[in-house]
Amino acid sequence: MPLLYPLVLAAALFGIGLYGVLARRNAVLMLLGVELMLNAANLNLVAFDAWFGDKMHSGQVLTLFTIALAAAEIGLGLAIILTLFRALRTVDVDQVGVDR
């Protein structure tokens, strides 16, 4: 299988995720965009691991770490968003910071 397939897929997902982070109004969906970008990185890690055949399986292990960190990140992010929502009754990022 050409190495390019997963790499190009990762690039596309990264771009889509970036768009989501920059464009979605809802803060929760911004976090989802971040998850998408992380997944693109994971794809790269796994693909290079498979291509390189590393004995330490660095790519896959780092992918697991990333997944764990992403879980932690989304947990913290959602906690922050919930606090924000309680304080402002909104999770629109373009409303946050305006007209306190």
Binding site: V21, A23, L29, H57, G75
Partner: protein
């Protein structure tokens, strides 16, 4: 093109299309559900690349917990009157341009760097081999990560509680 490649491309197409839908859908819950499809497809890609263990973790952690958490959060932060067009900000054109630039730039880079390289297809990702690597070579990182997770757990609780007090 063999069957493996065809399956990978299938998963890839499903992943890209569902990711686009997830990032553009006007229904928030639909976005979360389309993201489930994307993450599942990526997990499928992992499987095709013989990284089974990572794929299962992906399904368990992402599809099983993260997306459920996100759907809960979406439901808890539902706003009374949010029009469908209000789901993207005025920043969307710049965001779209940057997304395309990033995708094309990265794609061009990897294409220039790795054209013609192939994945051999040997099995790399059994649970046994990953477990060996994880608890042999990467045990320090693993422990640090567990501390990080604990810190994140406590932090999430503290942030939520302090928010509720006000």
């Amino acid at each position: 093109m063999n069957v493996t490649e065809a399956v990978f491309l299938l998963f890839a197409i499903v992943a890209v299309v569902s990711a686009l839908l997830a990032m553009t859908s006007h229904q928030l819950v639909h976005s979360a559900l389309w993201l489930v499809v994307t993450l599942g497809s990526v997990a499928g890609c992992f499987v095709v690349m013989t990284a089974e263990f990572v794929a299962w973790v992906q399904v368990l952690v992402y599809v099983g917990s993260v997306v459920v958490l996100v759907i809960f959060a979406l439901m808890m932060t539902r706003q009374p009157a949010a029009g469908p067009s209000a789901e993207v900000t005025g920043n969307r054109w710049a965001a779209g341009a940057l997304g395309i630039v990033a995708a094309v730039g990265l794609g061009a880079t990897v294409t220039a760097g790795f054209r013609g390289e192939r994945i051999k297809g040997q099995r790399i990702g059994t649970a046994r081999s990953i477990g060996d690597a994880l608890f042999h070579d990467w045990v320090l990182g693993f422990e640090i990560l567990s501390v990080v997770l604990l810190a994140a757990l406590i932090g999430a609780i503290v942030i939520s509680r302090s928010g509720s007090e006000h």
